[in-house]
């Protein structure tokens, strides 16, 4: 920036305007303070967490090493819990994307009797709060003999009415001639969806994938109920039980919190455009 353009920028705002700008940036950075504190605490010895300033102390990865090596002996297998979280989250996300894409294509583009009713049913489902279902879902999973298994975490979330609805809204806006071309080429359902529909709607698919991923990774109440063995727990639940029992180990607890947060923050920063777009979509 040249000196002139800076001068022009300074002149374009009143002193009050500048104060407001500085105020809003300060507030925005303050909003990040808990993250900064978490990362700093995860890198310090527990004894120094409360006694040193944010950027002071002996930084090391000892807390993470403790989490992966020592916590295992306390019956808290963190590495395995991360693996379980990853398996559950990835399979749920993959399943939701594939099923939503095909069913949304049917809802948006195929004429079949009852299609309108089906759409209304999806809307009804979205209005009824899911927390209401947690207890009876437990009864069902118990009857199926799936308690304490990964199936309990994966199966109930394999399809998503919300995902179908969001995708179908976007699929409706596609130009008809491309689908006509696919029809003329006698493309199969699989080819039509994978070769025509999906490439044209990457944005909405990314949005559904991201929100499903974050929701599943951070799901707490359901796995807390469905899983009671520590060696089947996803990271969120294992971390909470670890903190409850070994709250004194503040350093390792914060290291666990960093591990739990990291994938979500990375995804958010990498796909920030899609996140903002997705949030804007829910505003309509």
């Amino acid at each position: 920036m040249t000196r002139e353009s800076i001068a022009r920028l300074v002149r374009s705002r009143s002193p009050g305007g500048w104060a407001a700008t500085i105020g809003i940036y300060t507030l925005a950075l303050t909003w990040l303070y808990p993250f900064a504190w978490m990362v700093a605490a995860s890198l310090k010895p527990t004894a120094q967490i409360y006694t040193t300033g944010l950027f002071e102390g002996d930084f090391s990865f000892d807390n993470f090493r403790f989490l992966f090596a020592t916590a295992d002996k306390l019956d808290r297998p963190f590495l395995q819990a991360m693996g379980i979280s990853a398996i559950v989250t990835l399979s749920v996300t993959a399943s939701v994307i594939v099923t939503s894409a095909f069913i949304a294509y049917a809802l948006a583009r195929l004429r079949f009797p009852g299609a309108k009713l089906f759409g209304d049913f999806l809307l009804l489902q979205m209005v009824i709060p899911t927390t209401m279902f947690i207890l009876p879902l437990f009864v069902l999973i118990k009857q199926l003999g799936l308690l304490n298994s990964l199936g309990a975490l994966i199966f109930p979330s394999m399809m998503s009415g919300w995902g179908i609805y969001m995708m179908s809204q976007s699929f409706r806006a596609m130009p008809e001639d491309l689908l006509d071309a696919a029809r003329l080429d006698r493309a199969s359902l699989w080819q039509t969806v994978m070769k025509v529909v999906v490439p044209l709607n990457k944005s909405i698919i990314a949005i559904v994938a991201l929100f499903t991923f974050t929701g599943t990774w951070d799901n707490f109440l359901w796995p807390l109920i469905a899983i009671s063995d520590t060696d089947r727990m996803p990271l969120a639940v294992l971390l909470a039980t670890f903190s409850k029992q070994y709250g004194g180990y503040a350093g390792p607890v914060m290291a666990g919190a960093v591990l739990q947060t990291l994938p979500l923050v990375l995804l958010f920063l990498l796909f920030r455009r899609h996140f903002l777009q997705g949030m804007a979509l829910t505003l309509k």
Binding site: W31, M38, A106, R111, M159, R272, L283
Partner: protein
């Protein structure tokens, strides 16, 4: 010739219908298992006595009577209102600040939005654990307050302050999102209305209450509805930060349902609670819309 074409079109349509129907059916089977069947169980549990292993015994309205009279459940419902009393002013104040801020900063808009939204997408469990430490008696917040004004605040051991602490954490998480909603409303206000208000010598405060806020009523309503739904669904934060204490002062309906079903092993009781809680949240949303919803008309 014509009949042949008609028939083939009809056949093509029916193939399309078969594919469409079977895809819809796949979802309906899934919903029947994981949505309708639990729904049926919820209804069944609410009118029976059951303890996870025996056969449910029909008891009619007894669960409802017991639940309504349960002092802990009453406390939990009352706590929702106590939470809202703290949460609504903080959330609306913060969200308006964020919305006006976004409107003001211009070029750095995306950066500011990302700062405020990071808390919204990050992990509820991790965040709760971090705030447990931040609010603790020797934590950084108290250290800062002590250095500044010489007091230590018992954030998690005083009934009212504990609720304030929970409201602050939840507001920290949602203010960015609410701010974005209000900001999308601000964008729709025509410039001419402000020009007209300025010509009428309206003061900034008058402009805010007579022009800006009424114009973004739909967005304010949306935030209010979201806030009500959040308050009834609260679990992770109070469960991990205060554990519902001190003396049930931060126990939420979801925590009561969890405790009743899986600690006290009274699922019938808990099922009745979850129906009542959903009903209450629905009624509160309805009441809020009746009271505050206005049609925005630009004449």
């Amino acid at each position: 010739m014509r009949r042949g074409a008609d028939a083939s079109r009809h056949r093509a349509l029916s193939r399309e219908a078969v594919i469409g129907l079977s895809l819809a059916l796949a979802y309906l089977v899934f919903a029947a298992i994981f949505w309708a069947y639990p729904f049926f169980w919820l209804a069944r549990l609410s009118v029976t006595q059951w303890r996870f292993f025996d056969e449910p015994v029909f008891t009619g309205g007894r669960n409802l009577l017991l639940t309504v009279q349960d002092p802990q459940f009453q406390q939990a419902m009352w706590n929702v209102l106590r939470f809202l009393a703290f949460y609504l002013p903080i959330a609306f104040g913060g969200a308006l600040l964020v919305a006006f801020g976004l409107q003001h900063v211009g070029r750095g808009k995306t950066f500011v939005a990302l700062c405020f939204l990071l808390s919204n997408v990050s992990s509820g469990v991790a965040v709760s654990l971090v705030f447990t430490k931040i609010f603790s008696s020797t934590g950084p917040l108290n250290a800062w307050l002590f250095g500044w004004i010489g007091v230590r605040v018992p954030w998690t051991t005083h009934p009212t302050l504990a609720m304030l602490a929970i409201a602050l954490v939840v507001a920290w998480k949602f203010v960015g999102y609410y701010g974005l909603i209000l900001y999308s409303g601000l964008l729709t206000i025509p410039r001419e209305i402000y020009d007209a208000a300025t010509l009428d010598h309206a003061r900034p405060l008058t402009r805010l209450f007579r022009v800006t806020l009424p114009m973004i009523n739909p967005q304010l309503m949306m935030v209010l509805v979201f806030a009500i739904l959040v308050s009834f669904g609260l679990f992770t934060e109070p469960f991990l930060i205060t554990g519902g204490g001190p003396a049930d002062s931060t126990a939420t309906p979801q925590m009561m349902i969890y405790e009743t079903a899986f600690r006290r092993l009274q699922p019938s009781h808990a099922a009745t609670m979850s129906i009542l809680v959903s009903l209450a949240s629905y009624l509160l949303v309805l009441a809020a819309r009746r009271l505050f919803e206005r049609k925005v008309v630009i004449a």
